[in-house]
Symmetry: C2
Subunit: 129 residues, 2 copies
C-alpha cells in the first residue's frame, strides 16, 4: 500500500489550481509552478496532476479530445466551452442526477454518472461580433 507525500511540488500544483478560476493545461500549470520552483519538470507536473486526480482533490476536464485541462474544484459541475476564444468556463446550475435514471431504461445497464459539456459563444466573444 502506498501512502502519498505532500512534497513542495505537489503542494504548489494543488495551490495554483485551487487559486484560479481558469482551467489550465498541464503545460500552463508548469509555467506557473516554475515561478516558484524553477527547476521543476513537466513530468512532475503530469505525475502530480494524476495523483491529485486519483485522490479526488481535483478533476480532469476533457473537451473534444483536445489537451487535457484541470479543475481545482472536484465537485461535479458542468462546463461551457467557447468555440470562439477557446476558453472553458464553469456553469452555474445543478448536476442533473435525474438524467442518469432517464437514460437507464429497462435496467439493461447501470449508469453511475455522466459528463455534460456545453458549446457556444461566451459573453466576451458575443460583444466583439
Amino acid at each position: 500500500m502506498s501512502s502519498k507525500r505532500m512534497t513542495k511540488q505537489r503542494k504548489t500544483v494543488l495551490e495554483k489550481l485551487k487559486n484560479t478560476r481558469s482551467h489550465p493545461t498541464a503545460s500552463e500549470l508548469y509555467w506557473e509552478v516554475r515561478k516558484e520552483i524553477p527547476q521543476v519538470s513537466l513530468g512532475t507536473i503530469y505525475r502530480n496532476l494524476n495523483v491529485l486526480t486519483e485522490l479526488g482533490e481535483i478533476q480532469e476536464i476533457n473537451i473534444n479530445n483536445k489537451v487535457k485541462r484541470y479543475d481545482g474544484n472536484p465537485e461535479k459541475h458542468y462546463h461551457f466551452f467557447c468555440q470562439d476564444c477557446g476558453r472553458v468556463y464553469d456553469l452555474d446550475g445543478d448536476y442533473q442526477k435525474d438524467l442518469d435514471k432517464k437514460f437507464e431504461k429497462n435496467n439493461q445497464h447501470k449508469i453511475t454518472h455522466h459528463f455534460l459539456d456545453f458549446y457556444g459563444t461566451c459573453r466576451n466573444c458575443l460583444k466583439d461580433s
Copy 2:
C-alpha cells in the same frame, strides 16, 4: 472552393462505418478497409474520417480523451461508455434540447449544443459480476 471526390477509399470507409453499430477507432477501421483495399494506408483512413466528419456524413466520439471513435450516424444522440469492457453504445432517448436553454442563464453566453456521455456498467458486464 474545393469539391470532394468519392474515391474507392473514401467510399469504403463510409460504408464500413454505416454498416456497423459499433463505434470503431481509426485503426480498427483501417483493418476493415484493408480487407477490401489491401494497400490502403492509415493516413488515408484518418484523412477520410476528417473529410467525412466535415461533410456531416459521420461524427466523432470523444470519450475521456482516449482514442477517437467514429459514428456512422451523424444525428445527435448520446452514448454510454462501459467502464468494465470499454465498449461504447448508442443510447435510446431524445436529445435534450431544453438543457441548452436551462444552462443559458441571463443570456450571458449563447449555447449552441452540448455533448452528454454516460458512464457505468453495461448489461453484459453486469451479468458477469
